[in-house]
């Protein structure tokens, strides 16, 4: 019996229980994620992070949430009132909806019913998630527009441009998964990975997905929509109190959602790590929840690690990267992959397959080498011309010598200093 049929037999109350589980899972993981992010980033910056409220500061985000809810709720005079209120609601409701099709566990026994911890499954589940994500962005864009001030508007504009460009790359990276699993249903994609994870056999798609998922969720280094250094708070500058809390919630639930999708599509879903499959028979299906959450936590750590490491991209570089690198790369990769797939379905001999793969690799190496050589030439051609010697003690440019030759180098100064000390 497939998972889809198994879920189809759920009685109504069980569907409600599962819905409740998803809601609780999302809210608790947001609380934990905020705390975890602050602690991990603090460790990366040689600080301690929140450690006052509760053991290890575990209740810090709860305290912050209560504080946030008790703040004054402001609506700016210049704001478009209805849209201003609707925007955070759109953000916060859509982010939960993606979880409806995520398979949390394999077959489990829930209150005496044999089922799987997945609310529903559609033949087009993954497309459904993309659709929900694209509606969720309306929250950010509308928040930016309706605030009636400049910085939020810029944040909203950036966000909409960002989503239009990165959703294309994301969609293209998923095509390879659809080709290999022969389905767009999440449970069938997980089932198709019982032997090899798609992150291994479809590594380029996986890499593109991971990059564009960071872009989708507006997280550093792609957090141009809120960009504290440039736009105050970006789209949510004018928001306070619970409305701001909704955006906050949406951001973290979205991170968990894209991580869950990455786990489902590329990391074998709820299945155990390779070589540890015996754990699934220990506690029955419930142990698979452990693996699923573990993989999400790993992805979340990656998000925090990126934030702690990389500076924010400049807007034009970000767009160039999306349109000129990610999208063409994934298009070429899909072409190659589809060709390989058809070849193997037609039972072409292994030598031909190998020859084709080697040919593609050589072609890519050739093209990138030529490109590198060309750009190196262009750089050499743009070398700064000879200039008059500066009359002002600036550091020497390449190809210049300093006019004043009796400047003492640092090394020569050292003995003098030693003499003084002696």
């Amino acid at each position: 019996m497939t998972t889809t049929e198994l879920i189809g037999q759920d009685p109504g109350w069980l569907i409600l229980v599962k819905g409740l589980f998803i809601f609780v899972f999302c809210v608790v993981s947001t609380l934990m994620a905020v705390w975890g992010e602050r602690r991990i980033v603090a460790r990366m910056q040689m600080r301690l992070g929140p450690n006052r409220v509760g053991k290890f500061g575990l209740l810090q985000s709860l305290a912050d949430g209560v504080k946030l809810a008790l703040k004054e709720d402001l609506i700016p005079a210049a704001a478009d009132k209805i849209v201003f209120v609707v925007a955070p609601i759109i953000s916060a409701t859509t982010c939960f909806m993606a979880f409806a099709v995520i398979p949390f566990t394999g077959k489990v026994n829930l209150f005496g019913h044999k089922t799987a911890l997945q609310l529903t499954d559609l033949p087009v589940s993954v497309l459904y998630i993309l659709a929900i994500a694209s509606i969720g962005v309306y929250g950010i864009v509308l928040a930016g527009w309706s605030s009636g001030s400049t910085y939020p508007l810029l944040g909203g504009l950036r966000s909409s441009a960002q989503v239009i460009s990165y959703e294309v790359a994301m969609g293209l990276s998923l095509v390879a998964v659809f080709i290999y699993s022969g389905s767009m249903s999440t449970s069938e994609i997980v089932a198709a990975q019982h032997q090899w994870w798609f992150s291994v056999i479809l590594f380029p798609s996986f890499a593109i997905y991971v990059i564009s998922m960071v872009g989708e969720t507006n997280r550093a280094p792609f957090d141009l929509a809120e960009a504290e250094g440039e736009l105050v708070g970006g789209f949510h500058t004018e928001y306070s109190s619970l409305k701001f809390a909704l955006f906050f919630l949406a951001e973290y639930v979205n991170i968990v959602a894209v991580s869950a999708l990455a786990t489902t599509l590329f990391m074998g879903g709820y299945h155990a790590l390779p070589g540890l499959t015996f754990t699934e028979s220990w506690l029955g299906g419930w142990f698979t929840l452990f693996w699923f959450v573990g993989k999400i936590v790993a992805f979340f750590f990656l998000f925090v690690w990126l934030r702690g490491t990389l500076p924010r991209l400049r807007y034009d570089q970000f767009m160039k990267f999306g349109w000129k690198v990610l999208i063409p790369t994934s298009l070429i990769w899909i072409l190659v992959l589809a060709t390989l797939r058809v070849m193997s379905q037609r039972a072409v001999s292994r030598m031909v397959l190998l020859g084709f793969s080697i040919g593609v690799v050589l072609l890519v190496v050739l093209v990138t080498t030529l490109y590198d050589r060309n750009s190196a030439k262009a750089k050499a051609a743009a070398h700064l011309p000879e200039m008059p010697q500066p009359s002002f003690p600036v550091p020497a440019l390449p190809g210049q010598s300093l006019p004043n030759q009796n400047i003492v180098s640092q090394f020569e100064l050292v003995p003098e200093l030693e003499n003084q000390n002696g």
Binding site: G8, P123, V124, A131, V141, L153, A161, V163, M387, F392
Partner: protein, 264 residues
């Protein structure tokens, strides 16, 4: 449970109860939103109502078992096309309302004719499906799976039309890019050019940027010139605009007195 609800309303010509409930809730909302598109004043509100109409249409498609079509409707129209619309509208301005100036002269009559033609085409198609050759029904269409059935039709029977339409769309996109493209994409005063220009000047005094305004620890307003080491004010530390307007406060009052004077 959900699937049986879908199948309940699938017999041609009849509508099951859940579908009827869904229809009578959503259809009035969709029609009101569609009317709102024409009636509201702000362009962004129109775009939002349009997005809402598209989402309700998608829900109708899904309820009619055209799952793929419904989801793709949201991804493509609500997610991409309307988002582009919003992008343009927001660039135009926050409070811009519709202008009634006709940019293309004499486009009314051809567009009315084209609209009538399109209406006739749609009416004849719907009429043919309803009267002349009755539809096979969704159960038959979805026999081998909704996505698979659609894919089979698109890539066998209608592959030519499909490719022609995609070529048309790509041509339109390229055309738009060619029309909108101008040679001078980059501003002549980009950060790098300004920096190079500063170093090419005769004097390198301000190559590293102009001094900032304000007197250290006494006054930090932008209209107070900074003081040079000799105590004289540095006029370049105040923005050109303020200098031109004469909106400069004298900084002489903020000088630190010499130590002897302070002790007095």
């Amino acid at each position: 449970m959900l699937q049986s609800a879908f199948h309940f309303g699938l017999t041609i010509g009849r509508t099951g109860t859940p579908e009827a409930v869904q229809f009578w809730i959503l259809a009035p909302l969709a029609v009101m939103a569609a009317l709102g598109i024409l009636l509201v004043k702000k362009a962004v509100h129109s775009a939002l109502l349009m997005a809402w109409v598209m989402v309700t249409l998608a829900i109708f498609y899904i309820a009619e078992d055209a799952l793929f079509l419904g989801i793709v409707q949201i991804v493509v129209y609500t997610g991409a096309v309307m988002m582009l619309f919003l992008f343009i509208l927001m660039l135009v301005g926050v409070d811009s309302s519709e202008s009634f100036v006709e940019n293309l002269k004499g486009q009314r009559i051809p567009s009315i004719i084209a609209a009538l033609g399109l209406g006739g085409l749609i009416a004849s198609l719907v009429g043919r499906a309803a009267v002349v050759s009755p539809a096979a029904g969704l159960a038959a269409a979805n026999a081998g799976g909704n996505v698979q059935g659609l894919a089979k039709l698109l890539f066998t029977q209608y592959v030519w039309a499909f490719e022609v339409v995609s070529a048309l769309l790509i041509t339109a996109a390229l055309g738009a890019m060619v029309l909108a493209h101008s040679q001078k994409v980059r501003s002549p005063f980009a950060q790098r050019d300004l920096s190079v220009a500063r170093f090419r000047k005769a004097s390198l005094a301000d190559a590293a940027g102009l001094p900032t305004s304000g007197v250290f620890a006494r006054h930090n307003a932008v209209d107070v010139p900074a003081l040079l080491p000799d105590g004289s004010p540095a006029p370049t530390s105040v923005s050109q605009t303020l200098r031109a307007r004469g909106d400069i406060i004298s900084s002489s009052g903020f000088e630190l007195k010499s130590i002897e004077e302070q002790e007095d």
